[in-house]
Symmetry: C2
Subunit: 188 residues, 2 copies
DNA sequence: GCAGAATTGTTAGTCACTAACGTCACGCGT
DNA sequence: ACGCGTGACGTTAGTGACTAACAATTCTGC
């Protein structure tokens, strides 16, 4: 049951992504997208609070934080975060359609544009804060929780940008590789 | 020998920071800053390419990458990065004046503003890329180098935001704490 | 003091985004 | 099937960041 709102939103989104990919993000004004979608620029902004949201929005679940919270308290904060993200990813990868072409297309657009990279990082901050809160609730002190969460999101974000820049790199491999890079290896 | 350019730049900077701190970043238009500094808005933009540069610019040296590169090749990439940043920081802290009040003031303004946080992260990306390149030159594969660099900058950035939000937290302590959070501890 | 160079000002314009308010069409109940 | 209320959409007018082109000013070396 697709409502009218969803249809309009999707139409705007597809046209915008096509134009951005073809002509470049900065070269395409919002009015152009609105025109080609047969709507006014106001309608565009009602569906996407800002131009960049078209390309940056995907609900990278605060569900990640739940998986972090679920890790055994005996582990170091970094290790809890690592494993939480890995588990969350495998859960997400199951219900596929996340690794679909639209995501890759968006990552491709974002990866080449510093301002959009920053916007994407900004959008990940809610996840980062959720992870930090999960760790801090587990008794980790605030500075360490914040630093670990920042590191995890930083590594993850870098990996996703690589995916956008490298058509041959799979998202699953990238995420797994990023988390492996933070693996301390066997502890003494 | 302070040139005219430097004087004008400094005047704009001081007035802008004062206004931002007093009334909020979004509430102060560029024209207002220009007026109070006795210049036109064009002069503002000639000294600061964008409004946010006033608050986000400080040359957090690509010197960091040199210290990373200088770490022994036997260590893991993460460990090389950790130690490189720690050494770079101690070197920077020596020639003081980095930890001065202006930096804290700017961090305070940035920390409360999501868009500015993103801009600051964006400005750290040149350092991140330099670190990634340093690691990749040392034989680390690209994904791991990129992920580690992202993690380091992510942790560092989070720590700096905490400094901005917490007047009692010292910058040195924050940086040290952030790096400690990524310490794998004694390896087996 | 004067020529040339660097710095700044003026003006006019583009684009992202917002507020207020009017209008129309969709889909719901009857 | 048909009206009617609500939500989706349009229009207009405006603000603020930022740029280009060119004119005017101040500064500096000689």
């Amino acid at each position: 049951m697709t409502t009218r709102t969803e249809r309009t939103r999707l139409r705007i989104l597809e046209i915008a992504l096509r134009l951005f990919a073809a002509e470049g993000y900065d070269a395409v004004p919002v009015t152009r997208i609105a025109d080609e979608a047969g709507v006014s620029h106001m309608t565009f902004f009602r569906h996407f609070p800002s131009k960049s949201d078209v390309v940056v929005t995907d609900p990278y679940d605060p569900l990640i934080a739940e998986f972090v919270r679920a890790q055994p308290a005996g582990l170091s904060p970094l290790e809890r975060g690592r494993r939480g993200i890995l588990e969350a990813w495998s859960r997400i990868a199951d219900q596929s359609d996340v690794a679909d072409d639209s995501v890759r297309l968006r990552l491709g657009i974002v990866a080449t544009h510093p301002g959009l990279r920053a916007r994407m990082w900004e959008s990940q901050q809610v996840t980062q804060q959720a992870i930090a809160a999960a760790l801090a609730d587990g008794g980790t002190d605030v500075l360490e929780a914040e630093a670990v969460a920042g590191a995890l999101i930083g590594a993850l974000t870098s990996a996703l940008f690589l995916v956008g820049a490298h058509p041959t790199l799979g998202m699953g491999d990238a995420v797994a590789g990023a988390m492996r890079a933070l693996d301390p290896g066997p502890q003494s």
